[in-house]
Symmetry: none
Subunit: 350 residues, 2 copies
Amino acid sequence: MRNLLEIQKQLLPDLMETLKRRYTILHQIMLSDIIGRRTLAASMDMTERVLRAETDLLKSQGLIEIESVGMRISDAGRRLLDLLEPIAKSLFGLDDLEEKIRTTYNLSKVIVVPGDCETSPFTKRELGRAGARALLGALKGSDTVAVTGGTTLAEVADQLTPPLSLSYKNAWFVPARGGLGESMEIQANTIASTMAKRIGANYRLLHVPDLLSEDAYQSLAMDANIGEIVQIIRKSRIIVHGIGDAMEMTRRRRLDEATIADIQGEGAVAESFGYYFNEEGQVVHTMLTMGLRLEDIIRTEVVIGIAGGKRKAKAIHAMLRFGQEDILVIDESAAVEIGKEIDMQLQQVL
Amino acid sequence: MRNLLEIQKQLLPDLMETLKRRYTILHQIMLSDIIGRRTLAASMDMTERVLRAETDLLKSQGLIEIESVGMRISDAGRRLLDLLEPIAKSLFGLDDLEEKIRTTYNLSKVIVVPGDCETSPFTKRELGRAGARALLGALKGSDTVAVTGGTTLAEVADQLTPPLSLSYKNAWFVPARGGLGESMEIQANTIASTMAKRIGANYRLLHVPDLLSEDAYQSLAMDANIGEIVQIIRKSRIIVHGIGDAMEMTRRRRLDEATIADIQGEGAVAESFGYYFNEEGQVVHTMLTMGLRLEDIIRTEVVIGIAGGKRKAKAIHAMLRFGQEDILVIDESAAVEIGKEIDMQLQQVL
DNA sequence: TGTTCGTGGTCTTAAAATGTCCCGGGTTAA
DNA sequence: TTAACCCGGGACATTTTAAGACCACGAACA
């Protein structure tokens, strides 16, 4: 595959450029559901006229449909994009990055989506799509999947679409842990139920308030209903989790000053599943809530970590050092940063 | 390998052409050992200047060497040609096939779409698109177009989109013949009206039941309204028709056993416009219904035949022998079969 | 030694690509 | 229901690129 492109590059030196451009346009249209020419031109940093030339071509090839409300991707275009995905990776040089990270941390799969989540909402969406695909790739008919909260996971849930053939009637979605003080849409409970509904699976919720006192924790642990769902959670075969910057999470969860200082003092840089990790990937702080424990995570078959953005690179790196990830889905900006850190490590070794 | 090329054809239709051109030039230079610009330009039917642009590029890519005695291929160029050989086959494969069929049966145009209708619905769609394009290419502002029924023609109707500039306000679509006992969506009447609506043209329908008795036929022929529309049909400048396998059509039309045996006995392999043709392209059976007659077809300016699938190759071939087609739109699998038959004929002649 | 055929340069012209604006129509938010 | 907004498509001036036409000069060859 790669081969043919290399061959063609010799006869068509500008092939790659054109291919990239058209792919990006088509891709952007796909992500936008429906979008107008001017808006798209602005977001892609092209003048209106040249974009128009391209979209006219895409239309004549039947890859997009142009209506009075804007342009949308056609079925054929969608198929083409799917086929093009791996090629695009090598076009944008992301496959090298994927491989580097994969081998360094011994993961089974690394997926890097082009772009930067922090600057482009489309990249976030794309990250969600990639995460959703990764999940479906790992999901068998009767698995239990534990999911965490967060905006990224919410995006994954939104982008989850079932393949036509398989049925997930016997699959279960559960939140990985109890409430951790975030808004409704990005609660693990909400996300678990959304995902389950979207692919026709089942879900169980864990209704535990956040910021439990020790006493409350103990009494809830005795509750039969809660105990049952916690058992289900702890036996999940798949975990899908976001990765957060430690300090940002403390703020988002409105922890009290003392706790924040505490966590910061211990050098926490990353947060996931309610645990805080330092740069070396060691757990330095635990939030008291019910659900998955560290030992469960360690024995879980498939751990899928999803995150994006340059600011999260350090946190993602910490989770990689923690060493429990199997599949990592990140964006290009984070991947580039991680790639740099890997290079620095190698230099230190030499 | 094949795959990527097909993808590129969709996204980079313009580049594929230049790829072909450059390949041919390089190939020619290789065959010529050493050759001058003017000589080469003449042999390739290009002006000197455009050839020069190409050879300059080939030189800058290090694929040829230019000396004062002329141009010769470089080692890198030779290697590239070797690598490109199998790709070139598929790049040109269809073109060669088109040309072979075109010249053998003296058609004005042959279009072969890649793939196989029988295995891929996308190919069927592509066949429809190609058929629609062929029709629009032949259609002038105030033509009358007669269309037959069938799933392929229905696909053509679906894929018909008007070019932005032209108006077909004065064009007419009519069914080629009366009802021939098929389901609503693939009736000639339905297709004629769909096509007309899609490009803003007019249509007239021919409401004649199928399986007419001789008496009924005679009395309908007297009807003024029917007579009028029949007159319009018979004066069509363009005919767009599908081509069917004879036996399959008898089944689809639920003919009675006696008739089927009759048709089979006469060696019918193809069906179109309600006529059945044997392998030599001779009419062996006629369905009694109103509309286009054979003599009309013969004098029609543009006859566009559209069909696809390996199983229909024999039928298509019979229609080619019938000798009234001007434009043929088929899929690759049928084209390959027809190509084989042409080769066999040639061998018999030798 | 003159002729022929080659490349490479240049100038003009034709054509294509591009930047920019505007219009009428449809959608959406108020 | 209305007004604002954004859409696609048309138009057009302008820039950029491709193409055509010639010519100069050098190497090979007869």
